[in-house]
């Protein structure tokens, strides 16, 4: 019927063949056949119309943390889970959640302008009329402030941008900076600005990155209109997420709390997000040098850096109150191993209506739970316990999941098999990140689930996109490394529990993120109109859950992790080498006066200073551990493992459950003890963006070579402990 009909006809037989010829990881031949039957029955249950109905209800009103409708949504979900037969706990944590009291931004000169700071309703989308109930645009965990100063445009406001400013002899000391959204997680921008001496920070969405440059704007199209403002948290997330008043432990009713003065992770300076409508008069009023080409956006002006003559007044006051974060936990107890938990979650709180973020993922979790419950009605039970979680207060800083994880840390370390996360999800191509010990396992699932639009597998579509758009030839699904930005972070990086993060995208982009315009209408028009991809997401995540819950031997393996670690190892060694060469070359050019000779003498210019030479580091501890992991990786025989006596298999599963945790160290990363994982962490200066082998990599990037050597040694110990655990597993699997 459509133009893909022919293609489908050719390719479909191939899929089922390839799927059936594979040995299902973690299962014996007979248990695999049962599992496949179960999955077919599960798939038959998945009903996209349910997702539609639930989203419509849950996005009918704004439901941010502490709002009346957030509680309604929680009760609605709890009631659903209960009605399907789950044991449901609603755990409440009381967390610091600032909301705005005063928001004021004025351009005082040379022209004057008072920023609107509001998102007007749009015709045709009634949800956008609900401005009274909605939180206005602001950045959560900005401090209060009342500052007046000259303005400086700092591009994305990341450290490299300040190097450009330095070249031009421009300081932000005592100034207010205006930075574009994107290029880093938003919380990095005020953090770096404050480090550089700025006294205030304005964030805006440039239409080049997020607006008319991308496509027609809402309500004509999906993209950000001139009034849209991205809300969002600006706490120091790469240092630690969670409630600033209960660092490292659960914000239960009776927990001891820090005073507001002692709160950790708040910004050092006031910060406010604005629309490009509000940004235009400010940017237009800037003088000084023309911004470098890569800094310029799509506003119809010449972008200048300043400082000034634009002078702005920024005034912010917040209600520094606590609000309840509700986590809904629905449990289906395992028949064989009730104390081994497979946890599947998504958050439910939104900045406004949150149709895409987070409800698109939340309704998939609900449909997964409903479908599993239907299977359970036939008398079937998973071998392991399945827990479905709907997290509260994710938006201000992963509060609901972090407090839950901190509260239940000991039990989780003992019982958790893995955590499977989703969040906003749309239409297009499957994206997934996670622990590489589970990459091969995930690959089998990506080979089994059908893409709703084309009928080939979700992997085939991803593979085609990688080949055509990135020139990359994939042989099986590759997991990306996880940074931060959603609820997997406390499980994965704080406790060392293997984790996944999943979603579909690439054909549903828009500008609604964290605005008033992330509505049900927007989602239905521009994201996943018939929830076909919501259904596909439920099939992917449902398979992960069900296979982990039912596997005879947990389907971890080592070859992909070994290969990935070797790549990361090579990257940090190459980084040290390229940093050494670049430093030497740069110092030579400084000595030759080349920077001054290359600069225009009629423009202000400050030549760079020489940097200390990069010493040779001893990478042997890392190389030795990586070598051992690679050698061991190939010797694990999953076939043998599944033939073990039950008690040995159970012991093996326990070893696998503790495996990811071997990649952690209790004292955590330098300057951020909450992050204990030594392979994956959000970047200290990127935020959501991952840094792999973070202790070593960031020390080199920050040119702290003493620390780099210390971290290499520690990483070597961590990887050696990991190899020891591998060896135990391999030894046990080989037992006759």
């Amino acid at each position: 019927m459509n133009r893909l009909y022919f293609l489908l006809a050719c390719l479909l037989p191939g899929i089922s063949l390839s799927a059936q010829s594979q040995q299902l990881m973690g299962f014996t031949e007979s248990s695999a056949e049962q599992q496949r039957q179960l999955e077919r029955a599960y798939d038959d249950q998945i009903t996209p119309a349910n997702l539609d109905e639930w989203m419509k209800y849950m996005t009918a009103r704004p439901h941010h943390v502490g709002s009346p409708y957030d509680k309604k949504v929680v009760d609605y979900m709890a009631e659903k889970f209960r009605s399907w037969g789950y044991d449901v706990d609603v755990e409440r944590f009381d967390v610091l959640f600032p909301t705005p009291k005063v928001r004021k931004l004025e351009l005082l000169g040379p022209t004057t302008y008072t920023a609107m700071l509001e998102e007007p309703p749009v015709t045709g989308d009634a949800a956008t009329d609900q401005t009274e109930e909605a939180l206005p645009p602001y950045n959560a965990f900005s401090i209060d402030g009342d500052v007046t100063a000259e303005l400086v445009f700092v591009n994305y406001g990341v450290p490299a941008d300040y190097e450009e400013l330095e070249k031009r002899g421009i300081s932000v000391e005592g100034k207010i900076v205006i930075a574009k959204y994107q290029g880093s997680w938003r919380g990095i921008k005020p953090k770096v600005a404050a480090e550089k001496g700025a006294i205030g920070c304005i964030l805006y969405s440039d239409p080049e990155d997020d607006g008319y440059y991308q496509g027609e704007t809402y309500p004509d199209g999906a993209y950000k209109n001139e009034y849209g403002v991205q809300r969002g948290a600006v706490m120091d997330l790469p240092r630690a997420p969670g409630d600033p008043l209960t660092p490292g432990y659960g914000a239960t009713a009776d927990a001891e709390r820090l005073s507001l003065d002692e709160a950790e992770g708040l910004t050092e300076i006031p910060v406010l997000p604005i629309s490009y409508h509000d940004a235009l008069p400010l940017l237009r009023a800037l003088g000084g040098p023309v911004a470098p080409a890569s800094w310029r956006g799509a506003l119809p002006i010449t972008y200048h850096i300043g400082p000034g003559p634009a002078e702005v007044h920024l005034q912010l006051e917040f209600n520094w109150e606590q609000a309840p974060a509700y986590d809904v936990i629905a449990t289906l107890e395992g028949s064989a191993y009730p104390d081994e938990w497979v946890i599947r979650g998504n958050h439910h709180d939104a900045w406004v209506h949150g149709a895409n973020d987070p409800i698109s993922g939340m309704v998939a979790v609900m449909e997964e739970a409903r479908a599993v419950a239907e299977l359970a009605k036939t008398g079937w039970r998973p071998k392991r316990t399945i827990k479905y979680a709907a997290w509260g207060a994710e938006e201000p800083g992963l509060l609901g999941s972090t407090e839950w994880v901190e509260t239940h840390a000991d039990e989780l370390v003992e019982k958790a098999v893995a955590y499977i996360n989703t969040d906003a999800s749309g239409r297009g191509f499957l994206g997934a990140g996670g622990s590489h010990t589970l990459e091969k396992f995930f690959g089998q699932i990506a080979d089994d689930v059908e893409d709703p639009q084309t009928g080939v597998t979700v992997f085939e579509r991803r593979k085609a996109a990688a080949a055509v758009n990135q020139g990359q030839d994939l042989h099986s699904f590759e997991l990306s490394a996880l940074g931060s930005g959603s609820d997997y972070s406390p499980f994965f990086q704080h406790l060392g529990i293997a984790a996944f993060n999943l979603g579909f995208g690439g054909e549903s982009s828009g500008g609604e993120y964290h605005t008033m315009y992330d509505s049900y209408d927007h989602y239905k028009r521009f994201k996943d109109p018939d929830f076909a991809y919501g259904g596909a997401l439920a099939k992917v995540a449902g398979r992960i859950t069900l296979r982990l819950a039912n596997a005879d031997v947990l389907p971890f393996e080592f070859t992909r992790m070994a290969r990935t670690l070797q790549e990361y190892g090579k990257e940090v060694m190459d980084l040290a080498e390229s940093t050494r060469k670049e430093t030497a070359r740069r110092n030579r050019l400084i000595g030759e006066g080349a920077y001054e000779l290359a600069a225009d003498p009629t423009e202000p210019y400050t030549a760079p200073k020489e940097k200390a030479e990069v010493p040779y580091l001893n990478f042997a501890p890392l190389q030795n551990a990586l070598g051992r992991i690679s050698e061991l990786a190939d010797t694990y025989k999953p076939g043998q493992a599944s033939q073990l006596p039950a008690a040995d298999r159970e012991r093996l599963n326990q070893l696998f459950m503790g495996l990811e945790r071997k990649l952690t160290r209790p004292e955590g990363l330098p300057r951020r003890p909450w992050f204990v994982h030594h392979v994956y962490a959000p970047g200290f200066y990127t935020g959501y963006g991952v840094k792999t082998l973070p202790g070593v990599r960031e020390a080199i990037e920050q040119r702290n070579f003493t620390e780099a050597q210390e971290q290499i040694d520690k990483l070597g110990e961590v990887l050696t402990a990991y190899a020891d655990q591998m060896q135990q597993i391999i030894g046990l699997a080989a037992t006759k």
Copy 2:
């Protein structure tokens, strides 16, 4: 005094040392000392204030081809040259020069707009008031036309852009296209559009490439304001420049002329350039798919491709009349070798006032001539004849220089040593292209001339910029390869006379090119305010002229040419290889259905078709010739050559004068016999942009592999003839 003071103090002694320790190419030790004295005396003559005075006079009114003030400028220059003691000829050619009669562009629907097509005067620059005398914006050698059709946005309008359109199933057949300026020479855009079936073509300057995105606009800053329009020729320049009615021979008074119907090189469809003010309503009215990210500009709209719903009416009529092109030729006869000519030229005609293009270069030529004349007053004479040329009618298609070269072809082939060209020139870094046989010679000059702003040599500044901005470490000055776009083309590519093209730039960019705003005021404010770089240009070009005129043995050499040819040879072999691999990969992906699977099924998409596989080509004829040239290159001993008896030296010089011509073949390149040089040519689909080894390279690019093999064989013959000439030279130089 300024921040470079310290730097200068350190570096200056270094310069003079290095300069004095070099052996001057082409001179014996004693003649070198005389030459250096001469150059010092020459430098002392260079007076930037003269350039200022002459520019002011010559840009006082618009002076396009055929205008009253063009003749005034010609008379002014002729009188100057005569007053300095030169023999002056003003040669007149009557060339086809269309000027606009009707220019009309209307948006008929869905909204309506009538384009202004005018550049209003700006306050503070009286020159811009002279609209009555000025040619309005148009493209010379567009045909007449009156067309109405839907509009399609085609990015830069180069072949790759039409491949993107094909993917989206969009044809321009029967449509009017609108293309951004840049990305290719402007004449390529209507040529390709016509090949694809379009019936009209609109060109505009997007503010991202040429407008407020770059910097403040005129008169506040140097960049293109919303009304500025780039005029320019659109004849099929890569096929042949020059008068369309006298192809291949001089447009003298009594020459036979083709009728207008037979004229060669005119566009196939009407074409009109417009401002971004006029383009905005047209682009805003487009529907259809959103343009790919790389196509979008800096207008505050979502860029769509169309076709339509925008419908436009384009009406153009021209006066198809002949106009006089005046070439001023000022000759100083050589004392020893009057029949060996060193020719130094720049054009004088402008689109409007042309302060930058071409007068900034023209006044440098004049100052060079004046300074040489001052030297001649002392009784000194150059050994060889020096000819200073001021070309007419360059703007519509290199008409003045081409007709002169075609008229005097036989004499030039016999007598020309080299041609040295300049055109628009500004402030900053020395750029130069030319024959690589003269690269080493030019390097000595770049080591001798001082940069006006920093006091280091012009090479040192260029080297610093290359190191800092391009990460490229230069050891000596490297000449770029010459394409087209100025008056060196007929000398170099039609006759095979060694040539240079020079200018300063990089710190004087602006949007005045071919607009009403290329005025004296603009030049003084934003280009080279005190003509210091005009003086430096006169010193560089003057040294080339004087050294070539006085050398005992002409300072050609072979090692740089051999190295450069090896690079070009490797490039075309790599191109064949990468084309083969890309074709195979693409065909494989097509076979796998990857393109369709990677595309969004909800958007129109046409998967690409398979292409014929790339055969292995026999590169041996090229490789053998290159191998021989490389081997021979090192065996030339200039030291021995300068010791030869006078008659042998003269014979050697004759061989050198004929050397570049060995790189030509009389029948020229495929489909463009006018271009006979087989190493350097303007690209058939790039225009100004050079294609080296053009016969072979373009055949591979166009996937005509039969022709590629033929061209490899022919190139092998050409390079063998070059090697034979090298061998003669080397043999003669080695005579005891």
